[in-house]
């Protein structure tokens, strides 16, 4: 898993900062995501709500305007069916009834007038007269009304013109007219009932309506002429524009339009009977959430939550990392070599476990180190023993004695042989201090020993040394065979009386190297055999090197491993066979290894 080299900072950052930063970053991301999605949601929700409310408001206004017009139309009906139809104009005046109905509707009606087909003013409430010289029959609404007698006619707003008025006054009205049948005695004739609706009352109805989000509404006739607009005067003056002509073409429903670079939502609702349309306009610009303060508030909320979360993070990460840091400190101490330091075991379960494990490991190390020291000690001791035993004074004295005796007895040749053997024996014993020597040399060593011992023991035994040629160059431990042969001689041959036989073989078997020392001596019991390997080298024997069997075994195992060593097979009175198991390594190899 080759990871690209992260930035040095991250690599070296302590676990505390890493957790900190990761926590914080993830918290920040989470908060931002939540914040943004909530903001978006709120925003769209608000827009949707405002639009719904605007719709509701518009429906309401529609109903209001409807009701308003309906009231007026009903009034017209009352005037006609209730009053005019029942009245004979030649006899009575309808003024009182008109006055009654007018008084009840003063707020919305400016004038009520009954005109004959020829333009004569028959009745007017409040009292009014037609302007001098004005011919009502030429007025467009008059003509229209008489032409289409089944309808109520509405005009667009205009200044009231047909009546005499006070000098400084003018009234904006919407004229509503219908054709009526006027009874004169026995004849009936056509006439026109005119009701001037006070524009101010309609304006009041619509003026105070604001749609949310800076929306507004306006009223147009079926042909697109403006009937009401919050900024009507300004539009007429050309200061402000409105998209009324286009709106006139819409049917009822919701639309989206762009006017003068601004996107707006348009709702169109028709008012009954008159063909007028109520247009509700809501600009699509974002809502109040755009306020600078609101934005800052959002930032504040995010920062605040981040603050809280970071504190929590800090607490959590401290709870995790402080034990780790303490553990780290302990480890530092350990590294510095103080193996005895108390390792911190606290914090979470894992840290505790780690602490304990590290403690155990330190302990273990300490133990192992002690073991190694002990091993080295014992090795050294063995070495020392071996070293010490390399020159055994007793064996030397004895052999020298024999040599002196031989010389005194003119056995020159044997003396020479003995001296030579002794020299060779000791030379190999020393082997320049090496512990590992070639098998050749080891065999030579034991041959010399046997030669000496044979002479000393006056040929009480015979010996044989068999070695396959290939083993000669393998590696062997020094002073390995000789102590065993020594044992064989002194525990086996002593009582043999000339029939003693010691056979030494060395052979290679694959990766193993086997030596056997066979004697036909007294043998020993199994217990004795075992104890030979385990007993302390009790006393330095004066008959050979003094190194015990145990020592040999130990040294073999020390040098070559636990799986190698001595095995003793013995049958009392039959004989003993000691096998030495070594790895078959060439002497060269070991030398090269040692060089390294």
């Amino acid at each position: 898993m080759a990871e690209p080299q992260k930035s040095g900072f991250l690599n070296k950052a302590s676990i505390r900062y890493t957790i900190y930063i990761y926590f914080t970053v993830s918290a920040l991301v989470a908060i931002l995501l939540i914040g943004i999605s909530m903001y978006g949601r709120l925003s769209s929700q608000m827009t949707a709500t405002i639009q719904e409310e605007n719709q509701a408001m518009l429906s309401q206004v529609n109903r209001s305007v409807d009701a308003y017009l309906r009231t007026i139309m009903k009034l017209s009906d009352s005037l006609y069916y209730g009053v005019i139809k029942n009245a004979d104009m030649s006899k009575e005046s309808v003024n009182n009834e008109f006055t009654l109905l007018y008084d009840n509707n003063k707020d919305s009606i400016s004038n009520i007038a009954l005109l004959s087909k020829d333009g004569e003013l028959l009745s007017a409430v409040p009292a009014a007269r037609l302007k001098t010289g004005l011919d009502v029959t030429r007025e467009e609404w008059f003509e229209n009304t008489l032409r289409r007698t089944d309808n109520l006619h509405f005009t667009t707003p205009h200044v009231q013109y047909i009546f005499d008025n006070n000098e400084n006054q003018y009234r904006w009205v919407i004229s509503m007219s219908r054709a009526v049948e006027i009874t004169h005695g026995t004849s009936t004739d056509q006439g026109v009932l005119l009701m001037d609706i006070s524009y101010g009352s309609l304006k009041q109805l619509l003026d105070n309506i604001t749609l949310g989000n800076r929306g507004y509404l306006y009223l147009i006739s079926s042909t697109g002429e403006m009937i009401y607009h919050p900024q009507m005067q300004l539009i007429d003056a050309g200061q402000v524009q409105e998209n009324s002509q286009v709106a006139a073409g819409y049917r009822d429903g919701n639309y989206r339009e762009t006017f003068r670079g601004e996107k707006r939502d348009i709702t169109v609702k028709s008012v009954g009977y008159t063909g007028w349309k109520i247009i509700g306009v809501t600009p699509e610009k974002g809502i109040a959430l755009n306020n600078l303060k609101t934005k800052l508030f959002l930032v504040f909320v995010v920062a605040f939550f981040l603050f809280v979360l970071v504190i929590i993070n800090a607490y959590i990460s401290n709870r995790i990392t402080v034990p780790i840091q303490k553990l780290e400190k302990s480890v530092n101490a350990l590294e510095a070599g103080e193996l005895d330091t108390e390792v911190y075991t606290g914090g979470s379960y894992e840290i505790q476990h780690l602490g304990r494990s590290i403690g155990d490991m330190a302990h273990q190390i300490q133990v192992l180190m002690n073991d190694i020291v002990a091993e080295h000690e014992s090795k050294r001791k063995s070495e020392f023993d071996t070293l010490q035993s390399q020159i055994n004074p007793h064996f030397l004295y004895n052999t020298l004695d024999i040599i002196v005796w031989m010389i005194e007895n003119e056995q020159k040749a044997e003396a020479v042989k003995l001296v030579t053997a002794l020299a060779r024996f000791f030379r190999i014993s020393l082997s320049k201090g090496k512990s590992i020597i070639p098998v050749r040399d080891e065999l030579e060593h034991v041959r010399n020993y046997l030669m000496i011992q044979q002479m000393r023991f006056k040929n009480k035994f015979i010996y044989e040394i068999n070695a396959a040629p290939e083993v000669l160059n393998l590696a062997s431990l020094k002073l390995m065979l000789q102590p065993l042969v020594e044992n064989a001689i002194y525990h086996g041959m002593e009582f043999m009386d000339g029939d003693g036989r010691i056979t030494i073989t060395a052979r290679q078997d694959g990766a193993d190297l086997w030596f056997t020392i066979q004697d036909n001596g007294l043998g020993m019991t199994k217990e004795q055999a075992d104890s030979l390997l385990t007993d302390q080298p009790h006393k330095s024997s004066n008959r050979g090197s003094g190194i015990g069997v145990k020592n040999v075994n130990e040294r073999i195992r020390l040098y070559f491993g636990e799986e190698y060593g001595l095995t003793i097979e013995s049958e009392p009175d039959e004989g003993t066979c000691v096998s030495i198991h070594l790895p078959a390594t060439s002497y060269q190899e070991i030398m090269e290894k040692e060089k390294k």
């Binding site: 009292a127 008025n165 400084n168 101010g200």
Partner: protein
């Protein structure tokens, strides 16, 4: 050491407290001493084209200017026309208050419905001087900073009646044209909801009766104080009752002038007209002999009363003694008959 620190601490504390006290007292003292240099008056008229109201308005503006020049205190007079809509007037009152008017002069559109305006003024602590159209007594009693300047309607009516009475006594034939022993009159009335219409009508007729004039009513009609409506009514009556009408009793000058308009259109008939108000055109008509007489209510003093009351209230000064207030609220302007000056 500690003692020294403690002492120093106390000293600083005392010094700071003294400073703070001085500052606060300084601030608190200020508003009382400061002189007001300007006065802002919001005026709302029930209908701007009512001639009487217009006259009062003109007088008010002139006198405000005079006051300004004399006292050096700037008078900001903001005059609005409610165009006969109480709603509009309520909005205007709202606007005045939000613009910081010191006092309001209101000529209420609907005298029964003044409570909204009074509430608003009370909440804002702005005194109100009502004029010409009198709010109901309960409303006026709601606050002690409400005033009314007007004309005693009964007095006007009695004076009006007396014009005819004295004329009749002087020369009955100048009133009773056809000599049938009956003075046949037509009556032009103002708005039905206006307190003055009722009072003027009632007392005018009563005065005539009391004065021994044998009156007989032909007909009457409501012309809502308006000239054009009176003109229309009169035209109808001239058609309906040709030659029968002797005097026209009108609740105000505007309507009387409307009747004159109708008369002039119909061609000169001899008819006496009496009105109330003595508006400028009314007075002209009297001097021109078109109207028998009218009742003047010293519009100058009327407007002056409104102005003085307002100024006093705005400047938080006590009201001058030359403005006698009935019940501490009502100022009745003096009136007199105006007849043609005999040359």
């Amino acid at each position: 050491m500690r003692k020294r620190r403690f002492l120093r601490f106390t000293k600083t504390g005392v010094v700071l407290t003294l400073c703070a006290a001085l500052l606060l007292s300084g601030c608190a003292g200020k508003p009382v001493a400061e002189e007001k240099k300007s006065v802002r008056i919001g005026v709302s008229l029930y209908r701007g084209d009512d001639t009487f109201i217009n006259n009062i308005r003109g007088e008010l503006e002139e006198r405000a200017k005079a006051y300004e020049q004399k006292s050096g205190i700037k008078v900001m007079l903001d005059i609005q026309d409610a165009k006969g809509s109480q709603n509009t007037q309520n909005n205007q009152v709202e606007r005045f208050i939000s613009l910081g008017c010191d006092v309001l002069c209101i000529n209420p559109v609907d005298r029964m419905d003044a409570s909204v305006m009074i509430d608003r003024a009370m909440t804002a602590g702005v005194p109100v001087v009502f004029f010409n159209r009198q709010p109901v007594e309960e409303d006026m009693n709601r606050w002690d900073q409400l005033y009314y300047v007007g004309v005693d309607a009964k007095e006007s009516a009695v004076l009006q009646g007396n014009i005819v009475v004295s004329q009749y006594r002087e020369d009955p034939a100048s009133i009773d044209f056809n000599g049938d022993g009956k003075v046949s009159y037509v009556l032009l009335e103002g708005e039905s909801s206006h307190q003055d219409s009722l009072i003027r009508t009632e007392w005018s007729i009563q005065t005539l009766k009391d004065g021994g004039v044998p009156i007989e009513k032909i007909t009457g009609g409501i012309a809502n104080w308006e000239r054009s409506q009176a003109s229309a009514l009169m035209e109808q009556w001239l058609e309906t009752y040709p030659g029968e009408i002797e005097p026209v009793v009108s609740n105000n000058d505007d309507m009387a002038l409307g009747a004159i308009d109708a008369l002039e259109r119909a061609g000169g008939q001899r008819i006496n007209l009496i009105g109330i108000d003595a508006t400028t055109p009314g007075q002209e008509a009297v001097q021109a002999g078109k109207m028998l007489g009218t009742v003047s209510s010293d519009k100058g003093r009327y407007a002056q009363a409104i102005l003085d009351l307002s100024a006093a209230k705005a400047l938080n000064q006590p009201i001058q003694t030359d403005i006698p207030l009935e019940n501490g609220k009502y100022y009745w302007s003096a009136q007199e008959i105006v007849k043609k000056v005999k040359q």
